[in-house]
Subunit: 230 residues, 2 copies
DNA sequence: CTTTTTAAATGTTAATTATACACTTTTAAA
DNA sequence: TTTAAAAGTGTATAATTAACATTTAAAAAG
């Protein structure tokens, strides 16, 4: 009985697909590519690639992400393995989805253009090939859950940001409005931000103080474990 | 450039490994097998098997579980894909771990013996082969998290159970003592149990009322979404 | 049959956390 | 100097969670 026998017959292709979240102009977005290759030529899909013999899945996901954005050392997390038998009509492929959070301002725009990639607001996404729509839904759900327990949302912001931007980010991740005062109180209670002297004058006459993220304090908090419910 | 080209060169074996949780005599346990085959003959490991061409990962995990316990329709959930390049010294294998919750009283003891499997308390587990120890740690962490949000702990109990058993179960999952009155209040607040006339007289002179789980109400609650923090 | 023993059953108060809510300040533009 | 537009700030109430001790039931022992 073949439960524990190796069988090259059953070998499969292993792919990684990345749901890349970015945040721009108050909206949460994902990066998609218009495929210039088969299968699915001309259709939209997540970026992905195949697992190579000499790398693990995390490395494959990083490689794929780097190839499209030029970025390294990005917040990434494995999401789920998708394995429906005919999910890829061409050949049996199991895909392990990863999601990544990037600061949309720091990525390499030319690489994106070169790969016919484009940012889409969550509500304006085109239909994607295979089971990629399901992957995106999973990723959004995970991001929401994760966001309500760890302040990983910070990964999506530029180095300096205003409280308003931070709040907008959380509002677009959670898809609900938050009370400004309560939000600020909770963020301050976390004690992981540094208020800078500098102001962002681009939005209001008064200007809004910029903050940055105190990595030391943040790491310490993560160690001791904390909750961040909104 | 090979990012999106199929290459049979890179095909890999896909395994599933199952962390099977059970609850017996006040302790949370997992089911392990002593391997009667290579690699790792004579060592302890999780049960697992290879993904077949005609099934998806969920099906493979169910098959493996059924083969060892005789049980079907068990609570199972995909945990994580483990992919370190040399995790299996014999051949490149990616393993997708699943965890399952079973009522230890209902499984087929003879099948377990036949497969040289054995239940171990979480603290008495032998060292496992490959990265199976890591898988177990992941599974425990997930079970704890999941347990504090959904009352999936119920899956581990027999049809009829006492409040004390239920509390013991949660105490052993969370590895901490809970206050009896608060626990009962929270469980009652969920309104998903039915108190039976019948008592369990095996533990105390007074006897403890048995409860069962109201599937209708439980499902309704799951739909509407609820939290169950302890 | 009375007493003892053991676990079961039960509610209230205090503490913490989350929510709701409105006015003042700053600065540039009119 | 007035106006406009967003930034900044604190408190009171509600809801949830945590802490805590006594009474009850029934069998066993005397």
């Amino acid at each position: 009985m073949g439960l524990n026998t190796y069988s090259s017959e059953d070998k499969a292709l292993l792919a990684v697909d990345c749901i890349i979240f970015g945040f721009d102009k108050g909206d949460l977005k994902i990066l998609l590519i218009k495929r210039t290759f088969e299968p699915g030529l001309g259709e939209w899909s997540l970026i992905g690639g195949f697992l190579k013999k000499e790398e693990n899945l995390d490395q494959a996901a990083s490689r794929v992400l780097h190839h499209l954005t030029g970025l390294r050392d990005i917040y990434m997390e494995q999401l789920y393995a998708f394995s429906k038998v005919d999910r890829d009509p061409a050949e049996r492929t199991i895909s392990v989805a990863y999601y990544a959070l990037i600061d949309i301002a720091t990525h390499d725009t030319s690489l994106i253009k070169q790969n016919s990639a484009q940012w889409f607001g969550l509500k304006d996404c085109p239909k994607l090939i295979f089971d990629h729509d399901r992957m995106v839904l999973h990723a959004i759900a995970r991001l929401r859950r994760k966001t309500s327990n760890n302040p990983i949302g910070f990964e999506l912001l530029p180095e300096k940001f205003t409280m308003k931007q931070l709040q907008n980010l959380y509002e677009s991740i959670l898809d609900k409005e938050l009370d400004k005062r309560n939000f600020i109180n909770k963020v301050n209670a976390l004690d992981i931000l540094v208020k800078l002297e500098e102001k962002d004058m681009s939005v209001s006459r008064k200007g809004a103080y910029l903050f940055k993220f105190d990595e030391e304090k943040y790491k310490a908090k993560v160690e001791e474990g904390f909750s961040f419910k909104l």
